[in-house]
């Protein structure tokens, strides 16, 4: 019970350090989700709609990459961005940008695979119509993504949830620097290591509340969309 009071107290206190941490968490994870979604959704739809050699292989690879451990992604990005690595001159290691890159890589295959799954049944339904009308490929992809938008938004949410909750990648590439790259999950890890278990758990609850709010918002939007569709039909 004490944990709940601590958690609620933390949120209501409006403590500036905590707000900075929450804001950075959201900024990093939302940016990563946006960038990943921008490329993964068209790619996932294209894999469902277009026929080309190696398509199956790509699908298998992308599903396999859903199981990519965050630490491995973090380590790969770390080696890439380190001053001694190939992209070292950019000086991006231990910055929020590096964290966005790592999370983008991490959730790209998730959004791609889930989009593919969401789009495939629609494609089966539409394909004869598309063929009869001789619809260009780009238009097929666009139409199907739009018609599957609620299922696709679930794919985006899954990606966002994974990004917001992961700690392995951001702690390696971000370095958990106070006020610069410290996010909710790395704070929880740090407080646990300091033995401040109550505070760590309270922060975990705060993270959960944020994730819950974002999901609620998206579902509300989805519901509104469904209503709009029914009215239109």
């Amino acid at each position: 019970m004490e944990i709940f009071t601590t958690a609620i107290g933390l949120i209501l206190s409006g403590d500036k350090d905590l707000m900075t941490i929450i804001a950075l968490s959201l900024r990093v994870s939302l940016s990563a989700t946006l960038i990943a979604a921008l490329f993964a959704i068209p790619a996932g739809a294209a894999l469902a709609i277009l026929q080309f050699p190696g398509r199956r292989m790509l699908l298998v690879i992308s599903s396999a990459f859903m199981a990519l451990p965050p630490v491995v992604v973090g380590l790969a990005i770390y080696l890439l961005l380190s001053r001694s690595g190939p992209l070292g001159t950019l000086g991006l290691l231990f910055t929020p940008t590096a964290m966005i890159v790592a999370q983008t890589v991490l959730i790209f295959p998730i959004i791609l695979s889930l989009t593919h799954q969401a789009v495939q049944p629609l494609n089966r339904e539409y394909i004869s119509l598309f063929n009869a009308l001789d619809t260009p490929r780009f238009l097929r992809i666009r139409t199907i993504i739009w018609d599957a938008r609620f299922a696709v938004s679930v794919a985006i949410l899954a990606g966002f949830g994974r990004a917001l909750a992961e700690v392995g990648a951001v702690i390696i590439v971000g370095g958990n620097i106070n006020g610069l790259t410290r996010v909710m999950t790395t704070t929880i890890a740090l407080e646990t290591s300091k033995g401040n278990l109550q505070l760590a758990l309270a922060l975990g609850l705060v993270l959960l509340v944020i994730a819950f709010s974002v999901n609620l918002l998206t579902h509300t939007i989805a519901r509104m969309g469904e209503k709009y569709q029914t009215v239109r039909a």
Partner: protein, 279 residues
Amino acid sequence: MKFLSLLAALMFATTAAADTSITLASTTSTQNSGLYEFLLPKFTAETGITVHVVAVGTGQAIKIAQNGDADALLVHHRASEDAFVANGYGIERRDVMYNDYVIIGPKSDPADVGTSKTTTQALNTIHAAQSLFISRGDDSGTHKKERELWTAAEIATNGTWYREIGAGMGAALNMAAATDAYLMSDRGTWLSFGNTQNLTILFQGESQLRNPYGLILVNPEIHPHADTASARRLADWITSPTGQQAIAEFRVENKQLFCPNAQPEQDSKAFCPSDSAQN
């Protein structure tokens, strides 16, 4: 609503035009104690230089500096520090401060470590009783030191009683607290640790357990992008009377954690927990 507006403001705020910032690769033992949060704002107020601390184990901190991903290094393992400088990666090593290691275990003390006269004897009693011992196993300064002590005591640590967990000091303390095990910790992390449960200090104060910290600048000849000038200002400040005084003033639960030793003449005046424990 205030919560939301503040959050939105922070989220979209472009990162404040940071004047100058340097990255300091350092150890969890200094970070977890809260020393940097106490010390660095004073330095930033005086010089306008922001210090970004990446806190990892000493071994990893040295690798970060070696790769050029930091401008300075503050760690606690003299042999590794000297090797870092000798290999040309670092310049201008300076003494900054020290504290000491303590041997911690359950209050009931089944191995009877508490009556030991020397560190070697303390380790021997743990081994003889086959009591659970948690080792960091992460190539950190504390881990290297602990390995050296076992070697010095000529004890083979290959039984099931000896557990290498490959984690930070805090995680090791959490595990020891949960399993009533023995372990070695730096005094700073121990004093600021929140989840002590049944654990207590059982052995301390021998000169073998001293834990000195050194500050090294990353060699700009190897890593030209390193901001050596700003890093040197940090080193100058930390070893100056002002910086040393600040280190001596840092308290956790009313106890001094670190003894400044950059300026030997000041050293004797300072009250140090490890020194007092020795008396």
